[in-house]
């Protein structure tokens, strides 16, 4: 950052009318007692809102329903409302309805309310999300047994993140468990959420902006930065959250793509 001149920053920000912010690792780190804001982030959200820029919170959070997630962030001091959040569960519900799918839910108990009203009898697909401690051998095996016995196996994954940072260290995200089921059943998961183009396009539609008018800000080089760039958006990687220095880190370079 220190090396960037104000002229370079003016060029980076030219024509920007809206920001898309990842949440975990960018605004807060989860952990004991719900986690803690990353220093300066509560104030940054407030300043963005005052600036007149449009703002959308774009998260692959799938451990909690949007209500619970936003409630947590409000308690941490953030100015955030449920209708400002784009997350994968509602998109998954739309797919289930459109295709007449009845899910077996391998998800965290705190996410289940997002699927209220869905027919889960005699399941013909698997929904996998960040179940955390819910990823017991027994639970993963049950999902596997359902999936391998389907004539047309459908595996829908809410994101494919490798891991995220909590206050007591890096934690496995849904992606590794998605890969486990893919390998066990020789299927390819359908990923709902970042980095899927549909996710970013939905957020842009909700903001009423074109891709070139926005910047995505996240801590994940693949799911945040890469996904947004493939949709024609600009993107930046923060150095908080799961950010890890690459081989050129000592030279002061960031693993970002402004």
């Amino acid at each position: 950052m220190a090396a960037a001149t104000s002229a370079a920053w003016a060029q980076r920000l030219a024509g920007v009318r809206g920001l898309l912010l990842d949440v975990s690792g960018v605004l807060y780190d989860g952990g004991e007692g719900g986690g803690a804001p990353i220093p300066g982030s509560v104030e940054a959200v407030a300043r963005i809102k005052q600036s007149g820029l449009k703002l959308r919170f774009c998260t692959n959070e799938s451990q909690k329903s949007r209500d619970k997630f936003v409630g947590l962030l409000q308690r941490l001091g953030f100015d955030i409302l449920v209708n400002e959040v784009t997350s994968p569960a509602p998109a998954a519900c739309r797919i289930l309805k459109e295709r007449g799918l009845r899910p077996y839910l391998l998800v965290h108990d705190d996410l289940r309310s997002e699927f209220d009203g869905m027919d889960t009898s005699n399941p013909n697909c698997i929904i996998i999300a960040d179940a955390a401690e819910g990823f017991s051998y027994q639970n993963l095996n049950k999902a596997f047994q359902v999936l391998i016995n389907l004539e047309n196996p459908v595996l829908i994954s809410l994101g494919k993140g490798r891991y995220y940072k909590e206050s007591d260290g890096l934690m496995l995200d849904v992606g590794p468990y998605m890969k486990a089921l893919e390998y066990a059943c020789d299927v390819q998961a359908e990923v709902v959420g970042k980095p899927a183009p549909e996710f970013f396009q939905a957020a842009l539609k909700e903001m009423g902006l074109e891709a070139h008018e926005t910047i995505m800000i996240g801590d994940d080089i693949v799911n945040d930065v890469g996904g947004a760039q493939r949709c024609g958006m600009r993107a930046m990687q923060v150095r908080t959250g799961k950010f890890r220095c690459g081989p050129f880190c000592h030279l002061g370079k960031r693993e970002e793509s402004p």
Copy 2:
């Protein structure tokens, strides 16, 4: 089988001096109370031994030490001794010693004795095996945290099977969890056990036979049949264990390669 003429069988068996038998799904199915022999298998082992053919039990079993595994099979009625078994744990121990590796063991408690005497302090590699219920989120996450913080990450997997059959259904094997760690840490596991050529070559050496003099018999088309064939052995797939009918099953064809 019914379609095979005795002439075809004579050709298949020409020059055969030894058999390599997979165990789980071929001789017995695991499950409640240790599992049960597959009908006819106790007698088949006895007849093979009486026939003068050399016999080697070639298993990727990694939920139990060889002592415990052989004890279980003896109680089920099989004529089997520890020194007739080729399994991946001893091969993994040789690798650890040769390369000065100190393992973090993500393995079943019943397998730990195979690694007695190994230095597990300050681990610089992961050994993953079929931990079954031991594959809790907490345990997999601990292995992940060790692996991702290694400068030169080494992941050694005892087999890479997708699943196996127990009396109450198909169960996830070590392979899906190996894939989960590979994806989480962007590493490639080193597989010890079937289908690695070193595994079959070790078994052949223990039998004192050449590849062309043997037949591998298993229920896994990749790990048993494919692995053995790549070493120049003949191989057959049984219809017990995890065998599942393919698209031509109704025509009476087997997914084997005699």
